[in-house]
Symmetry: C2
Subunit: 134 residues, 2 copies
DNA sequence: TGTTTATGATACTAAATTTGTATCATTTGT
DNA sequence: ACAAATGATACAAATTTAGTATCATAAACA
């Protein structure tokens, strides 16, 4: 079971590269070249990041993308939420006949607890964290 | 992002029902009727549980399935592992060009930590836990 | 011993999600 | 006006998840 999917992965990598770059703006083309991510797919991802205000985009010549936030404000968990949606159960695991007999909410609460645990771990994973040497 | 998929869900519900049942053996047919799970799909799931030694199956007339373990030994995490595979990253999130600059292993270790946290939470979710009233 | 009633094995199909492609529109600098 | 960038959007392929269908096998029992 994959905790992180490819589009999240790509987003992280692109953001890392942009963060590290000396240039003020980075073009898709450069990202594609360096990161070896399929172009149109990456563009779609960057457009989403732009809409979600994690990147600012500049059109036209000398255009490209730049970060809108400090590196330590860009959290892996945010990216996961954007590209993979919030963590949740399948739905309600117990329905109808079975439900009344079984304390459904137990499991739900458990999952909530797990989600909190995962999120809190992931919250410490920021771009800054990933880029810090040593 | 779904933490638990439908086959895990179905497995839990089937096991719960079998655990609660007064009968020594429960047939697929009864499970299908009560739990409203598509028959052939549930059969496949039960066959897997049988292979994985969580259920014992009896063929022929008066056949059916029964638990092989105590309820507190059947853990949600085991079912998730069976039906969804182990928790993992997409793969290595950073490759080639980017990798040397970034401490890949950081993230990996983080995920390992997260996995441990999730597993340890889930380890306390057993059939017994789910079935306990109040 | 043969029929009924259950599971075992397995191959196939459908649906949903994830990943990737293609195309045209829009904006901006020169 | 043109070139170089992103924006929007519709489509397609691949993968994973969910569900179906069919025949084989084993056990109980008349």
């Amino acid at each position: 079971m994959k905790l992180i999917t490819r589009n999240t992965d790509y987003a992280v990598r692109a953001l890392c590269f942009i963060a590290q770059s000396k240039k003020k703006k980075v073009t898709v083309e450069e990202l594609v070249r360096v990161l070896e991510i399929p172009g149109p797919f990456l563009r779609k991802i960057l457009q989403i990041l732009n809409k979600k205000k994690l990147l600012k985009s500049y059109k036209g010549q000398n255009g490209g993308f730049s970060l809108t936030k400090l590196q330590d404000k860009i959290l892996l968990t945010d990216l996961m939420k954007i590209f993979q949606g919030p963590l949740k159960l399948n739905e309600c695991i117990f329905k109808k006949q079975v439900c009344p007999n079984i304390k459904t909410c137990k499991l739900k609460k458990k999952i909530d607890k797990i989600e909190k645990c995962v999120i809190s771990e992931l919250k410490s994973v920021s771009l800054a964290y990933l880029l810090k040497k040593n």
